[in-house]
């Protein structure tokens, strides 16, 4: 007998049975479970449930749920911004001091200029920027995020956002993959596996990029601090900065819903499917494990990955900045070439060049930008945000429009190399990988072009 014949026999048997097999199976399952549970489980009174339920009624309430979530988000960013500022300056000051002294030593030993340059002003400086810009915010953001995860808050977020996703024709569990995206978009793309329907899963994969990942937060935080925060009195500066980051995240969420909605009506037509989501009991987070998970697994891992890309990128930038052709460095040529396009979208050629170099990992955008701006010149004193602001505004003509466009571009542009690779691994489709990479890029250019245009018109 061959397989085809077995299937034919099966079909005949099924017709003979004339029953809904699944109904019988499921009914039988539930009856049995109920009976066994009745014989093995006993309840002592009704204690213990009240607190969990009371909290749930508040955090998943139609009225307070969303505002509470936003306040929590704002508080996390505020803590991150306030807490990271000083350590960032300290680390930058220390690492750049090392660069200066080491370069001095090398010169004293008579090392060729290009060895000193490549090693200390290239590779070391790239690493120093990444570590000082990224480490403190991550060391604060990740533990707080892990606490929320451990407590059991994430499924409540999914619950609160479900109706929005439903309206967009997407899956409510997309909120979970979005939450993972805050840490790393590649991880966010993998976590879409909890979504059963392939159509909705693809929507979640393609839009995960609109959640700013940890590699992009430092850019947003820096811009929020030196452009938005600085426009307010000092007492309110950090609040305003946190508010601007929350604003960017909300814009990202807006684009997630908008693009999901568009996809669900065009390329990926279909209705939102129903699903059950368990709201787990609140559990007391275990502090040691949180520290381990967030600091070793996440912070050190992400930082290490960033450093692995920053070191060669630092070398590349130094080479581009120090090899001259026709009286200007290669970096200048490249930046000048990209400048018209950059200006059109409210940025400039250097920023676009930084984004091209930073395709492998978004973390190095700001360091790359600063290194190209300052070229081969020494910049050991840009440790504080005030001095950073001076470099950007006074020497390179940045305005509030530049900052806003850069924040938007950073939020919307193409995912990093790792994420693109992950999209390919998960979809095994060149078409959807291309959509996942190019659609956000097109959106980023369109949006920043519109914002820059509006800004020009209103002047």
């Amino acid at each position: 007998m061959n397989p085809q014949e077995v299937l034919e026999r099966t079909d005949r048997l099924r017709r003979q049975l004339g029953i809904d097999f699944r109904d019988q199976m499921v009914t039988s399952l539930f009856e049995q479970s109920h009976q066994i549970a009745a014989r093995t489980v006993r309840r002592r009174g009704e204690g213990g449930w009240d607190l969990d339920q009371r909290i749930d009624r508040l955090v998943t309430s139609p009225v307070f749920g969303l505002p509470l979530m936003l306040m929590l988000l704002a508080a996390i960013f505020w803590l991150t911004i306030v807490g990271a500022n000083y350590p960032s300056q300290l680390i930058a000051w220390l690492l750049f001091a090392i660069e200066e002294h080491a370069a001095g030593l090398f010169e004293g030993w008579g090392a060729p200029w290009w060895v000193t340059g490549l090693l200390w002003h290239g590779i070391w400086r790239g690493l120093a920027w990444v570590v000082s810009v990224m480490l403190p915010p991550m060391a604060i953001f990740f533990p707080i995020f892990t606490i929320l995860e451990d407590l059991g808050y994430l499924p409540r977020v999914a619950f609160n956002l479900d109706w929005l996703f439903r309206k967009a024709g997407a899956h409510g569990k997309q909120a979970l993959s979005m939450a993972m995206g805050f840490g790393c978009n590649a991880a966010g793309v993998i976590s879409t596996r909890v979504i059963d329907s392939p159509r909705e899963r693809l929507i979640a994969i393609l839009t995960n990029n609109f959640v700013p990942c940890n590699g992009r937060f430092p850019t947003l935080i820096m811009l929020g601090t030196i452009f938005v925060g600085a426009a307010f009195p000092p007492a309110l500066a950090s609040l305003a900065a946190a508010g601007s980051v929350v604003g960017v995240v909300l814009i990202g969420a807006g684009f997630t819903f908008l693009v999901s909605w568009l996809l669900a009506r065009t390329l990926l037509k279909g209705e939102a499917s129903a699903f059950t989501l368990e709201l787990p009991p609140y559990r007391r987070p275990s502090i040691l494990r949180i520290l381990y998970t967030s600091l070793i697994d996440r912070t050190v891992f992400v930082l290490f990955r960033a450093m692995m890309t920053a070191a060669p990128a630092g070398a590349l930038i130094w080479i581009l900045g120090n090899i001259e052709a026709g009286g200007a460095s290669l970096a200048d040529h490249a930046a000048r070439f990209l400048d018209p396009l950059g200006r059109a979208v409210g940025l400039d050629g250097v920023i676009l060049l930084a984004y091209v170099i930073a395709i492998p990992a978004n973390e190095i955008v700001v360091p790359t930008m600063l290194m190209v701006y300052t070229g081969s010149g020494m910049m050991t004193e840009a440790a504080s945000f005030d001095q950073l602001r001076a470099v950007l505004v006074d020497q390179h003509g940045w305005t509030l429009v530049t900052a806003v466009c850069l924040m938007l571009f950073s939020l919307l542009h193409n995912p990093c190399g790792t994420t693109i690779l992950t999209i390919w691994k998960e979809t095994r489709s060149a078409k959807w990988t291309a959509v996942g990479a190019l659609m956000p890029l097109a959106i980023a250019f369109l949006v920043t072009f519109a914002v820059a245009g509006l800004a020009r018109l209103s002047q």
């Binding site: 007998m1 061959n2 397989p3 085809q4 077995v6 299937l7 026999r9 048997l13 099924r14 003979q16 049975l17 029953i19 097999f21 699944r22 019988q24 199976m25 499921v26 039988s28 399952l29 539930f30 049995q32 479970s33 109920h34 066994i36 549970a37 014989r39 093995t40 489980v41 006993r42 309840r43 002592r44 009174g45 009704e46 204690g47 213990g48 449930w49 995860e149 451990d150 059991g152 994430l154 499924p155 569990k173 590649a186 993998i190 596996r193 909890v194 979504i195 059963d196 059950t276 989501l277 368990e278 787990p280 009991p281 559990r283 998970t293 070793i296 697994d297 996440r298 891992f301 691994k425």
Partner: protein, 276 residues
């Protein structure tokens, strides 16, 4: 097969540390394969971590483990390979995580399948346990989160549960490692065939039973060596598209080998990166 219940050994006499050792990822050579399954968010990953010494990311939300994570432990000098499967509520539908879980239980031929259950929601967890018992005899129930149940005033009679389902059941609190030694002891007993199980099967009507009885030998002739033709017969009668395809293409007979698939490699990468 011996019928001696090796759980009789008291733990006061057997120092756990000297007999149980975590061997993390270095479990290339192993004697027994053990699968961890269960509803989402019942603490499978915590049990996995506690036994292997690995640090698979643990979080309080359902659906966190989306791939298989693998590690190993050694007990009484015997190496065990432990596979942490994605949490699922059932094995009947066809989402990717359920597919991974059920394919492994069915075709990966684990020597023991541990069903991790949430003591605070036993009835719902029983749905999955009963489905696993349809697929394999070699099952250990791990009734986890006993501390939470206690706090909520829920008492689970674990002995009665074992009696009802015909397989051993062990109460645990993964977070504090409570009950883990007995769990490992029981797993070892089931793997070695020292603990004989008589799993409860779902009662079905006689027409269906006859249909299954007719199909089983046919399936076995087409896919020799298939560990559970009875379950495949159920799936075929239910019109499960994937199982039909697998039978037609001959994949069903080969699935055993394909368990060393790219999924496993990707997932190793993820567990090392820890960003899951």
């Amino acid at each position: 097969m011996g019928s001696e219940d090796s759980r009789g050994t008291s733990c006061a006499k057997c120092p756990a540390a000297s007999r149980l050792s975590q061997i993390g990822l270095q479990a290339a050579d192993y004697s027994y394969l053990v699968a961890l399954t269960g509803n989402p968010n019942t603490g499978k990953s915590s049990i996995f971590n506690a036994l292997t010494g690995l640090r698979q990311h643990v979080g309080n939300w359902p659906g966190k483990t989306v791939t298989r994570a693998e590690g190993g432990f050694s007990f009484d000098g015997i190496h065990y390979r432990l596979v942490d499967l994605p949490g699922t509520y059932s094995l009947l539908s066809a989402s990717e995580d359920e597919e991974i879980a059920r394919n492994f239980i069915l075709f990966g031929r684990p020597d023991c399948t541990v069903v991790v259950m949430d003591a605070t929601a036993l009835e719902r967890n029983l749905n999955l346990a009963l489905q696993v018992l349809e697929i394999t005899d070699k099952v250990v129930l791990c009734v986890n989160l006993m501390d939470e149940a206690d706090r909520k005033g829920i008492e689970v009679d674990v002995r009665a549960l074992a009696r009802e389902l015909g397989v051993p059941a062990v109460p645990t609190v993964a977070r504090t490692r409570q009950g883990l030694h007995e769990l490992v002891h029981t797993i070892a007993g089931v793997c070695r065939g020292e603990i004989v199980t008589k799993p409860r099967r779902l009662p079905v009507d006689s027409g269906l039973e006859r249909a299954v009885a007719e199909l089983v030998p046919l399936i076995e002739s087409v896919a020799p060596g298939l560990p559970n033709a009875r379950w495949v017969a159920y799936r075929l009668l239910d019109g499960d598209h994937r199982v039909r395809q697998a039978l037609l293409s001959g994949e069903l007979a080969r699935l055993e080998e394909s368990q060393a698939s790219p999924v496993q490699r990707a997932n190793r990468l993820i567990s090392l990166e820890g960003t899951q």
